[in-house]
Amino acid sequence: MTPPVEELTGVTPVDSVNPGIDELIANSARNRQNPPPSDQTMIINMGPQHPSTHGVLRLVIEVDGETIVGMAPDIGYLHTGIEKTCEAKFYQQVVPMTDRIDYLCPMTNNLAYCLAVEKLLGLEIPERAIYLRVLFNELTRIQSHLVWLGTHAMDIGALTVFLYCFREREDLLRIFEAVAGQRMMTSYVRVGGLSVEPPRDIYDRIRTFLKNFPAHVEEYEGLLQTNPIWVNRLKGVGHLSAADAIALGVTGPPLRASGVDFDVRRDMPYSGYEKFQFNVPVSDVGDVWARYIVRMQEFRESVKICLQALDGLPEGHIVADAPKIILPNREQMKTQMESLIHHFKIVTEGFGVPAGEATSSVEAPHGMMNYYVVSDGTAKPYRVHMRNPGFATLQALETMCKGRLLADVVAVIGSIDIVLGEIDR
């Protein structure tokens, strides 16, 4: 039984967390002086290129037979210096950079960044933009979870689910394309609102998708949960206790699957989430199966939130009333001198943001995502730091895999749903 969250602190019972690669190799039994024959272990490099790692991740694994006795993740192969690049851009030019952090949830990244800048600016966002942001964020969550489910199932060997998931994901990408003009790198959320008003017929298409989607979730569950291979490779594998999860900085579905009932959307609402009714799925088992169940429930909760956002969608503007920050639309720019001047100034000089620092925190599909933006009063951010969920979750990989078989690593990596782009940044 999991103790209540209040009693859990950061002190972990794990004796040594994440040794370095050199230490792992140097201390491995094979390299010790005269190890007994029964104590022979072997170092295996999994990656940097491996079909199950969903990016460029190298895992140095020490195995005794097939049992894992040590592991050291090695990251940094994708490092693009995106935080450094942000410092050389205007505030509005950073939005397309945030798309590239995590190709599965660009809208969530856009939103997190814009919330931090809006906090610095003190902007008030119109209701319609808030509802649309929530709607598209939840659709992004469904899209991201679909890729997780598809690739996780494919890693285990269930190819049909992968094809089905990508079929539904395609519907969502077409909706994003109609709304933002882009399938993946949407850049749809802007500082102060949204980039364009969605086309009129999009709401019917979203409703049709949401109407059909729960049946698809049941279809996936029917395919997977009656499959003994799937069940046996997930149940009891990759166990992570609640205390370990908190100590190692795990967030999002893996944290909730370990029994910690915390969701940023419900507990520290942002962007109007306090107006929506939804449940936060929690399981206290903490294995790969629990993470699977939690995410499958999140599918249904996201559908609920999307329907509420569609039903409650108010009329009005999609951008805040701040002409010096928000680009005027094309029509205004061509007919009004003031708008033309604002357009020219914003594009060439950007807009100044009051000095200070702000953190925004959102519940991304993979976990809690924070943007820490520091302004020195100029038109370029002085510092943008992204706290992405995968970076910390990767620290828990060793704890989850120790004592399990090498083949279980594939199942565990699938269950924590990492995207290396957000980890290396």
């Binding site: 969250v5 209040e6 859990l8 602190t9 950061g10 002190v11 972990t12 794990v14 040594s16 967390v17 994440n18 040794p19 370095g20 230490e23 990251i75 940094g76 490092h79 210096g81 935080e83 450094k84 690049t85 410092e87 050389a88 906090k119 610095l120 600016l121 003190g122 902007l123 008030e124 908190i246 100590a247 190692l248 900085g249 910690v260 915390f262 507990d267 520290m268 200070g356 620092e357 702000a358 953190t359 925190s361 809690m368 924070n370 820490y372 520091v374 002085y382 510092r383 730091h385 706290r387 970076f391 910390a392 990767l394 620290q395 290396d424 940044r425």
Partner: protein, 163 residues
């Protein structure tokens, strides 16, 4: 809407306005400065007190270490600002602990003994800013190659690198 009047600055003002806040209570003796700006609580502590401050806020209920990062205020002195972001699952609040370090040989105690999740984040700050964390179990570069020269996120490091 952001109200500048709500931005309470200065240690005494913050501590008078939020006497019941758990972090304010816990850090009453350690804080050198504090501000409450845009509904975010930022408390500055001295570098040598960081472990004591971490333990104090942890006991006050801030159980979840989110991240640590740095800001390089080059060329002002003290140059580096190390920002720790710590969350409480129970209180549903976060506090930002700030340490200012000078630029010559920035060094700080590692708080991995308090929160093991600081491991990767401290390595990242070490790699990209060159801040040394003493007592860290495995302080090596994490993003850049081992033989990389310089620390890319410092302000005196050019955006396009050295040619």
């Amino acid at each position: 809407m952001y109200d500048p009047a709500s931005a309470i600055k200065g240690k005494q003002a913050v501590f008078d306005a939020h006497p019941d806040n758990a972090a304010v209570k816990a850090l009453a003796n350690l804080a050198t400065d504090a501000k409450f700006d845009r509904a975010e609580l930022t408390i500055t502590v001295a570098g040598e007190n960081i472990i004591a401050a971490a333990k104090a806020v942890q006991q006050a209920g801030y159980n979840f270490f989110e991240d640590v990062t740095a800001v390089d205020w080059y060329p002002s002195d003290p140059r580096f600002q190390i920002s720790y972001s710590i969350l409480s699952h129970k209180l549903k609040q976060r506090v930002r602990l700030v340490v200012r370090l000078d630029g010559d040989a920035p060094s700080l105690d590692s708080i991995t003994s308090v929160w093991p999740s600081a491991n990767f984040y401290e390595r990242e700050v070490f790699d990209l800013f060159g801040v040394h964390f003493s007592g860290h179990p495995n302080l090596r570069r994490i993003m850049m190659p081992e033989d990389w020269k310089g620390h890319p996120l410092r302000k005196d490091y050019p955006v396009e690198g050295y040619r």
